[in-house]
Symmetry: C2
Subunit: 416 residues, 2 copies
């Protein structure tokens, strides 16, 4: 007895490195039972490694072709991608997409379309590329027992942080090297400012906790404000600085979530995630911590995740968003306390009232830092920590519960 | 819209630490929609942390109870477990089992029953406990693109190997410590001789490659023959010795599989898997290597995997054994060449003809070793390497393809 497999006839958008790789693999692997029928490209003048008749510049040729039952969307432009994906899904075509920005920003609409039309929409490659984190959160980690997810989900910033820590480069030099090595875009803001990471966290929150939150609702920062003295401090303490996307179920059932630089110590599996790699720690009720590690970006890991999604489509797999529909976790909350390190340049004043408790401070003319406990909602609602020259880095084991909230006071205490 | 969830009414076999933990979690988590209706135990005289009316010593009370729709089997006795599981499946009850020995030894029968009756049979906890390796191989890693799986799947032996490497204990001392710490059975042969690991490899082969092989068909050895001088050698070379269960797709599409001690270098993710932890590296076509890490044994990690299986049953999930039914990988083969290190006590002769090629040798009165290339089928068919005093340890990057097979010769060359 063999299990029925759908034959996939694919319309592909985008023929960059991922698309080209996918085309080659599907040609070499007839058992995958999938064929690329047409490819929509933007620049017909470019030389391509496939027959000319395969290509078109008109999206509707693919979208209106009834013999095409799967659209694979691998383009950069998030707006064009949303048009393509929503049109494909509403016309009954399954879709595989790698576009985290588009997915994170349009999640409510995409969920509504899937609910109405029932067409499968898979996007494993949008989070950590080759690491099957969405599929595992969706299928394996039951909501109630999932205590937390924390991950290094952006390869570019992790590469930069590794170069700073290992080669003692400045952040600027490391970014330049990342661009030379191809691990950062020529406009690196999406990566460096934590926007790519928060897009991924937004997607993960849906599959981990059934929470639909626009990336802009989630507190996030990147590595843009980190200073050389932060790297020196981390080294002295035996920490590594990582940009971590974290979600954690609190005692009241609500979920804390943010993307912030963190000091990670060697007991944390993320400590050893270096260079362009990604890693995710999933903490579940009884199982302690599980760690998933692999390449999180790049053409081959992305193509690999796309292939796994295609393979699943052959068996009519779709995300059921179980945790969204049978919701038992709470909502996204900012009502919790976090231990953070804040560093700033000399002669700058950090108001004492920003902290519920200050546990350590150090100051010199050149560099100052405070370690203390903040109320997260206050951080969320304020702008002081986003200024150039101020770094906020989450301390290991950052969640603090024994805090007596202070009344707001007006006295600004200079800690320098 | 909420997704329909089955209400699970559970008949539980075994009320040891895993069963007790499961009972408590299900009581505390009503949203799991699962209730333990009856528990079958062997020793009614023991004090239990649950109402007396919950227990029986008669398996048939559970198996014949039509209101029970799921059997969870958590007993030690593999024969009794097979009776319970097969009877439950044939009478239409879904089954969750953690019994690797029973599953590995009865895989063909269990597959036939599932095919005939269509009842779900899940056993994620049987391999690496909390690491969802079966589910990922079954659902995510497409057959054709799966290059290899290698894992540390037995926590007891890994704990012993860690103690030997880190604390310079002898193997005997480390085993004793493992028993004291509760990481090894009082009769440790199943672990130490690699039998538990090969049971797990047998199960993994089915989900990775659709290969059904009895554990006895798979070449396996444990750590029982390792000597102190092997540990010293490993340390000098910067290796760690690990007991690795490995499956690898060869160029001809057939699959090599074995459980043997291996020298693992620091470029391998398994290098950092220490103590009672498990880790699995999955190598897939384009995605490079993925690494999964977590607790592989113990009551909580096992209960956690059982819970995930129960949760999946609420949505009627079952293994489809896709790779078995739509088979594209080849068969288990012994027709390949492997680079191994063989050590033996002084004055012992290892026949030259065992090796296709000897690349390095070293001898003294006390300890000798050879590094060379063997034909795996010759190793499989011979007994010389199973003698006490001889260690065979697989070299890093062991698969060798540039070998000209020698004609058998009769001259035994002493390498000491």
């Amino acid at each position: 007895m063999s299990i029925p497999q759908k034959k996939l006839s694919i319309g592909l958008f985008g023929f960059g490195v991922v698309g080209t790789g996918l085309y080659k693999v599907l040609q070499q692997t007839p058992s995958l039972n999938a064929e690329i029928k047409k490819v929509c490209i933007k620049h017909p003048e470019k030389k391509r490694e496939a027959p000319e008749t395969l290509f078109t510049v008109d999206p509707d040729i693919l979208l209106n072709d009834e013999s095409i039952n799967v659209i694979v969307e691998l383009i950069d432009d998030a707006d064009a991608a949303y048009y393509i994906v929503s049109k494909a899904l509403t016309s009954g075509k399954a879709v595989v997409s790698a576009n985290k920005k588009m997915i994170a920003e349009h999640l409510p609409e995409l969920l509504a379309i899937q609910k109405e039309y029932g067409t499968p929409f898979l996007y494993e490659s949008a989070c950590c590329a080759s690491i099957p984190v969405i599929r595992n959160l969706e299928e394996y980690y039951d909501n109630d027992l999932l205590q937390g997810v924390s991950g290094i989900v952006n390869g570019s910033t992790n590469y930069i942080l590794t170069r700073v820590a290992q080669d003692k480069l400045t952040f600027e030099e490391a970014l330049l090297q990342a661009q030379i090595e191809g691990f950062a875009e020529s406009n690196p803001a999406l990566d460096v400012e934590g926007i790519d990471a928060v897009n991924k966290l937004s997607i993960l929150l849906t599959h981990a906790y059934g929470i639909v939150a626009h990336p802009q609702e989630i507190v996030h920062s990147g590595i843009q404000n980190l200073q050389a003295h932060d790297a020196v401090f981390a080294k002295e303490k035996g920490f590594e600085i990582k940009l971590v996307a974290q979600a954690k179920k609190l005692e009241d059932g609500n979920v804390a979530a943010f993307v912030l630089p963190q000091f990670v110590d060697s007991t944390n599996q993320l400590y050893n995630v270096r260079n362009e790699y990604n890693g995710v720690v999933i903490e579940s009720g009884l199982a302690d911590k599980q760690f998933f590690y692999g390449k999180g970006a790049g053409s081959f890991p992305t193509a690999s995740a796309v292939l796994s999604d295609l393979s699943a489509l052959r068996y009519d797999y779709k995300y059921e968003y179980k945790k969204l529909h049978n919701k038992t976790a709470g909502n996204l909350t900012n009502d919790f306390f976090l231990r953070v390190y804040v560093s700033f340049e000399g002669l700058f004043q950090v108001p004492h009232e920003r902290f519920e408790r200050i546990e350590e401070w150090s100051s010199s003319e050149k560099k100052c830092h405070v370690i203390g406990v903040i109320k997260f909602s206050k951080l969320r609602d304020s702008q002081w920590w986003k200024k150039k020259g101020i770094s906020v880095i989450v301390w290991p084991d950052a969640f603090v519960t024994d805090v007596v909230v202070k009344e707001p006071v007006e006295d600004f205490l200079a800690v320098v």
